[in-house]
Amino acid sequence: MTTLKLTPKYPREKQTIMMFNGDEAVAYAVKQCYVDVVAAYPITPQTIIVEKFSEFVANGEVHTEFIHVESEHSAMSACIGAAATGARAFTSTCSQGLALMVETLYIASGLRLPIVMAVTNRALSAPINIHGDHSDAYLMRDAGWVMLFVENVQEAYDTTIQAFKIAEHPEVQLPVSVHLDGFFLSHTMENLHVLPDEAIYEFLGGPRKPVKVKVDYYDEEVEYTLNPARPLSVGMLAFYDYYFEIKTQQVEAFKHAERVITEVNEEWYKLTGRKYGDGLVDPYAMSDAEIAIVVMGSSTGTIRNIVKKFRERGVKIGVLRIRSYRPFPRRRVAELLKDVKLVAVLDRAASPGTLGALYSDIISSLYTLKERPLVVNYIYGLGGRDLSPQLVHRLIEELREDLRRGFIPEERLQRYLGVRE
């Protein structure tokens, strides 16, 4: 997070400090976003989001229609139906729930419905585990969702609000998922600066405004919404005649999303005094770094904290946090890593049979460079295994040793961080 240089419209003293955990922060953000429909099914560690939000509904604090569904598959289906009528829709899930939802995730993105979903990243079974890792997030990697990973409770709040703005941007029109690490953020209480309701209403420009589309059977452009008074077909059959074009439009929309994420990050900065790097990546001490640690989510702060100590001792090391996992900001990544000698990419999930998913994205971002850094892959924190400060110390010492040696043997390309022998 960068602190302010300009005077924001709502400086800190105009924001209210709340002691909220990540789940409560997300629920509160959704409350302020004038959401029309929430359809969700509870699953640990997401449960508090749904519980808290249903309290807002029960107390009459929101106009939202809360649909209690019987599964996550239905939760997303209900959001799809709602969003197709022009409603602003939200859901939240993780792990097995997200796995059950996968089929419908592709429908939400394929129909270009700007649904927002909070994912409290949690390991997948088996063995059964309720704790935080990124296995579930990697599961939805290619589902056509904009995926934003947050570092702390404040960012969970900020990003949930930003997500609606990004999703509903006329040139984006894609669903957005906000990823907060299960327990590490979902159940961690921190000081949260909350904006007044009217600030969020203004930021989002009021309720959702569906885009207009041209269809053959109407003379005028019509809203892309289901409306019995003005019939429209949504989710038509498209074979080899149109499917390809529709899919490439989705791919192109991600290019707009990349730009819009940075614009929204700037706009948020002017509003609140907070921004997260350029919105896509959040670098720390990267300008002269010889070693870089690339990471996503809640471990970033723990790593940055130890990196600061090594910096004090004159070790040229930096941290590159990936905030936008999809779209993956490969040009920014290449720019930031081009002069680094050694990069360690930390994946909080394994991709059995190949190297880590984030590692693969980093490697492909660097390939077009003339001179490429050494890049190693660490698998860490599976099933909620804690990344302790001691472990980060060991990691950095190991990287310094690799840098001295100047090469990475093939059998040492992927390593496990914090696993018992």
């Binding site: 400090i17 002691m19 955990n21 309720i130 704790h131 702390n152 690490d181 327990f183 590490f184 953020l185 159940h187 961690t188 209480m189 921190e190 000081n191 809640s298 471990s299 702060g301 723990t302 940055r304 904290n305 804690d386 990344l387 302790s388 400060p389 001691q390």
Partner: protein, 185 residues
Amino acid sequence: MLIEIRWHGRGGQGVWTASNIVATAAAYGGKYAQSFPAFGPERSGAPVLSFTRISDEPIEVHSMVYNPDILVILDYTLLSPRIVEGLKPEGVIVTNYTGDVNSVLERLGIKRGDYRVLLVPASKLALEILRIRATNTAMIGGLLKLGYVVKFEDVKKAIMERFTGPVAEKNTVLVERAMSETIEV
């Protein structure tokens, strides 16, 4: 200054709630604070941990607390040498206990003077005031005895927000009583 607290208790005793109340009180006192649980299988009676960080600076670390400044033990059946692991040399142990001091030291496997040890008659007071064995708020009273962690007024405010009506009132009384009846050995 950064203060790190590790809470030990059993599922259902309100370990996480106590940690949240202290973090909230710290925020009322103008500090940055963090509170989070370490859940095992969620069942009543199983040993559980919770952590609190209180700092003048924003807190960026999101790992468990390995070297706490303060240990708070809600349930004296958990007293063992293992519980002291990682406690800083100048650290403090605040435990629920009524009775012989030497037996506490023995169960912790420490000698008098190794650490500051505070005994809180939490079970006794909770039974007397709340009529249930919820020792979490009483243990906050013991923590308040240290003076430098959080202020009573801020704890009171956090309790009034967390609980309502007579439950909030009784818990406030309990905190105050526990604070005055905590002894350092």
